[in-house]
């Protein structure tokens, strides 16, 4: 049982071991770890794994948890169909919407 995999991100099948390995390969920010391992990019958009991943990163880097920089979590928070979006009547998007980075 000790050899069984520990899943950090179930949607993208990222194990804790893979996440740690990616860290040792030099990916030390949550954003780059997300892009490299796929953690938090699945159907649940990080609901299942991002706080665990950030907590693990804080331990790996030996920094206070509050100092871990969060990845950019873009809307929507769950997958939608084009049909759902097309049925939405919204005023034209205004120009002052800026992407946080």
């Amino acid at each position: 049982m000790s050899k069984a995999k520990i899943f950090l991100c179930r949607c993208e099948d990222v194990t804790l071991g893979e996440f740690r390995e990616a860290y040792t390969e030099g990916f030390t920010e949550l954003e780059s770890l997300k892009r490299y391992t796929g953690v938090g990019t699945g159907f649940c958009q990080g609901k299942g794994c991002l706080s665990e991943a950030a907590g693990e990163l804080a331990v790996l880097r030996n920094i206070p948890a509050g100092e871990v920089r969060l990845t950019n979590i873009r809307p929507p928070a769950e997958p939608l169909t084009f049909a759902q979006l097309a049925a939405l009547e919204v005023p034209a998007a205004s120009d002052d919407t800026e992407d946080k980075s």
Binding site: G42, I73, A77
Partner: protein
């Protein structure tokens, strides 16, 4: 999904070509479970079996192909006569050998080859995609001729048809979540107020389960003071709320996106709506944290919130099943009481050292209880059972027997839950990781306020000292 429908009425669905007879008043995921099908999908990379996990339409585990349309959340889909349900993944058949081959030949397979190659001519692209996608674990495309069925009712090609407005306009206060903290916020809010929740009635994630306990003849609730007072608090807030006819309540609705700092997108079933606000009160509660242990993806491992939805909302039948409840806190005792009330056989493992106040009550109920153990891992045992293994945590503790492994039909893991945080982040809120509060937590500002479990409070009351708790 009301439970008390006419008994005896049956519907028929097809699963992988086999006809199953089932009761009509529940979800596809629950019907499959009750027919012995726990594995709803296989994970994309390792081909691991996955079963219903969040029961809330968040995770990937329950995504299936329904009437030839892939990626349908079967934990939220009511059964209907004649439905055709299939697993959509190919992982079970291809994953391990195929991915080894792809990895060995990675020089010949560039990133994203499966959607870059074979795109022309168009007629052939579909033929190739239908074969390449399964190899890479992403499943088949929707069946031909079913595209129109996937469309929700809405404006057709001829332009908008008459229907409910999708822009709800502006409210002074929008409150996301109608649990105890959301209801308390609604009681104080003035002006035009909108309250929304993904449940059908206000009261929160535990209300249905607490009501079920209160109605149960064993009166287990009376033995657990904290559960009794939770229910009393929620009922008082619900009574207060019922007099507020100036508050708009949207049920079955959840906030799913913030594209602009003063408006959010809501989803009710297949329909989206947008709403503008001056103040947003984020009372969306918390999500189950299963924890990082070997085999934490085993089908049958659930958090307490998923358990409440499966047992109370969907009426999952666990009578006579052996359920292992591991962890501590209010949800631990509540899960145990609820499982006991619906006739499951319990084994409790209290792993939260600080939480021993309710142990005498559990002993009083004659629930088998172990302490001083640490969870080592869970593995599947056959298609329908699991086995949990433990090690002594060094504190001594007590166990009814010296066994360090336990077999069960189901394992409920009650850890510190994580606050929901995504939409406040998208709205520009300052979100940071505070493990002592369960996960990412929002720093409140003038127009975004998190309350209750979404702010890191423990269920039933604030985790932080009272003077630090912001009131909306």
């Amino acid at each position: 999904m009301a439970r008390d429908k006419m008994a005896g009425e049956k519907v028929h669905i097809r699963f992988e070509g086999k006809t199953l007879e089932c009761r009509p008043d529940t979800t596809v995921a629950v019907v499959l479970w009750e027919n012995g099908v726990r594995c709803l999908s296989h994970s994309p990379k390792y081909g691991r079996p996955r079963g219903v996990t969040c029961a809330r339409g968040h995770c990937t585990a329950c995504l299936m192909r329904v009437d030839d349309i892939p990626n349908i959340r079967t934990c939220e889909l009511s059964v209907r006569e004649g439905m055709d349900i299939r697993r959509q993944d190919a992982g079970a058949f291809y994953a391990a050998p195929m991915q080894k081959m792809l990895a060995a030949g990675s020089a010949f397979f560039p990133v994203g080859f499966y959607y870059k190659w074979f795109t022309r001519p168009a007629a052939l692209s579909r033929f190739f995609l239908d074969r390449i996608r399964p190899l890479t674990g992403v499943g088949r495309l929707p069946g031909a001729g079913h595209a129109s069925r996937a469309l929700p009712p809405g404006p057709g090609p001829q332009g908008p048809t008459a229907g409910p407005a999708t822009d709800l306009g502006r409210f002074d206060t929008v409150i996301v979540g109608a649990g105890p903290s959301g209801l308390a916020a609604a009681a104080k809010a003035t002006g035009r107020v909108l309250l929304l929740d993904d449940h059908e009635i206000p009261g929160g994630q535990r209300y249905g389960a607490l009501r079920r306990l209160a109605e149960h003849p064993d009166r287990t609730l009376d033995r657990f003071g904290e559960l009794r007072s939770s229910l009393e608090r929620i009922e008082k807030l619900r009574d207060q709320f019922s007099t507020r006819d100036d508050v708009t309540f949207l049920h079955g609705t959840r906030a799913i996106a913030g594209y602009h700092p003063d408006s959010i997108l809501l989803r009710c079933k297949d329909r989206l709506q947008s709403v503008k606000f001056s103040n947003l009160i984020w009372a969306a509660g918390a999500l189950d944290t299963l924890g990082l242990f070997p085999g934490n993806d085993t089908p049958g491992v659930l958090g307490p919130r998923a358990l409440y939805r499966l047992l109370v909302r969907d009426g999952l039948d666990v009578k006579g099943k052996h359920v292992l409840v591991i962890g501590g806190g209010l949800d631990f005792w509540m899960s145990a009481a609820l499982l006991d009330a619906v006739g499951a056989r319990l084994s409790l493992v209290v792993t939260d050292a600080g939480d021993s106040s309710a142990i005498p009550a559990a002993v009083d109920c004659q629930w088998p209880l172990s302490t001083g153990l640490e969870l080592q891992g869970i593995s599947g045992k056959g298609a329908q059972q699991l086995q949990a293994s433990f090690t002594p945590d060094g504190s001594g503790g007590s166990r009814p027997d010296s066994q360090l492994t336990m077999d069960a039909d189901l394992a409920v893991i009650c850890n510190r839950a994580k606050p929901a945080y995504d939409v406040p982040y998208q709205l520009g809120g300052d979100v940071s990781l505070l493990p002592e509060l369960g996960g990412f937590t929002l720093s409140n500002d003038s127009h975004l306020t998190a309350v209750g479990e979404a702010a890191g409070d423990l269920p039933g009351g604030p985790a932080r000292p009272a003077d630090e708790v912001d009131t909306p």
